[in-house]
Amino acid sequence: MPVWQALYDELKDQDFMIIAVAMDSRGLSAVSGPIRKAGTTYISLLDQDHVVSDLYNMTNVPQAVWIDEAGRIVRPTENAGAAMGFNLRKMRKTRQIYLDAIRDWVALGADSGHVFSEEEARAHTPVFTAAIAEAHASFHLGRYLQEKGSSREAASFLRRAVDLNPDSWNFFRQMKNLEHILGSGGPEFMMRARRASKAGKEYYPLPDMATMAEVAD
């Protein structure tokens, strides 16, 4: 959050807004503390049902979409410049390159080299499958049943969402977090992350930007 706040302070007078959306089914109790503590002045919203993930086909946090002044997507859902923390240098560098790309876009608009053509933007949009749509419906129902206290039935719908879209870290980690507040980073998560990595599915794939070349492996 401090990263986005600093960027917002720097660019807010240039018709730029940050809308940060918390994918947090536990609701206010989970997010209001961190948001108040950070004293964010950009817009911070709560999305208990992960509706934004559904609309934009997102699967992890942080992911971002660049939207221009006309409400058009110029960079679809992608990793918002995060990298694994075990490589501190790469983590910092990746983030810096991503933030510089945003600065470039805010300064140059459509002339920025980071703005996709319509064709490129469509090609970079993650494919929305029937299983993903079904997973969102199942997650949504499970989330509601959980809130109503039907934990056992909720669990089966949440698990079904995870099984239907195993590539969604949001579904998996939120499910584990609803089971136990510290559950999202447990041994099952580590196992899944290792398995995904072996299958060539990186937890934080690098955004497709020419400037990312220096942190690419």
Partner: protein, 142 residues
């Protein structure tokens, strides 16, 4: 087994409560046509089921789901291959969106609009920020 008289119906953007009708099977979800529109944004028109400029023609079996002012939303959703789910008591239903509609929306490159609360409960819409560049970014506490 007792069941409550109220049914909760969820969609990606909304939730409504309706009364259970004694005249309908428990495992079917019947809504009046305006309620379906309110809940899902899909309106019944002469050309079919429409949302914005997109219309799905209702032909053949799909017309069987209409009965006067009411529509069998569960049957129609299945017929149109949209996700429809309910709990074991059929007291809570979820009418999901089809992958092809989500994909079609994303393919237009028009950013899908949404309305969500901030931590003070104030609602914000993405489209309130037309005229600015917007970085839409997610995070989570977990």
């Amino acid at each position: 087994m007792s069941s409550t008289s109220a049914i909760q119906v969820l969609s990606a953007g909304r939730r409504i409560q309706i009364a259970r009708s004694a005249d309908r099977p428990t495992d079917e979800l019947w809504l009046d046509v305006p309620a379906l529109a309110d809940l899902t944004g899909w309106h019944l028109k002469p050309e079919g089921l429409c949302k914005g400029e997109v219309c799905v023609p209702l032909a053949g079996a799909a017309t069987d789901f209409l009965d006067g002012d009411e529509i069998c939303a569960s049957g129609l959703w299945k017929e149109l291959q949209r996700p429809v789910l309910h709990d074991s008591e059929c007291e809570t239903w979820m009418l999901g969106e089809a992958a092809k509609d989500r994909a079609r929306q994303l393919d237009t490159l028009e950013a899908p609009d949404f309305e969500l609360p901030d931590i003070d409960g104030k609602l914000h819409r993405l489209s309130d920020h037309r005229g600015k560049k917007v970085l839409l970014v997610t995070w989570a506490s977990w």
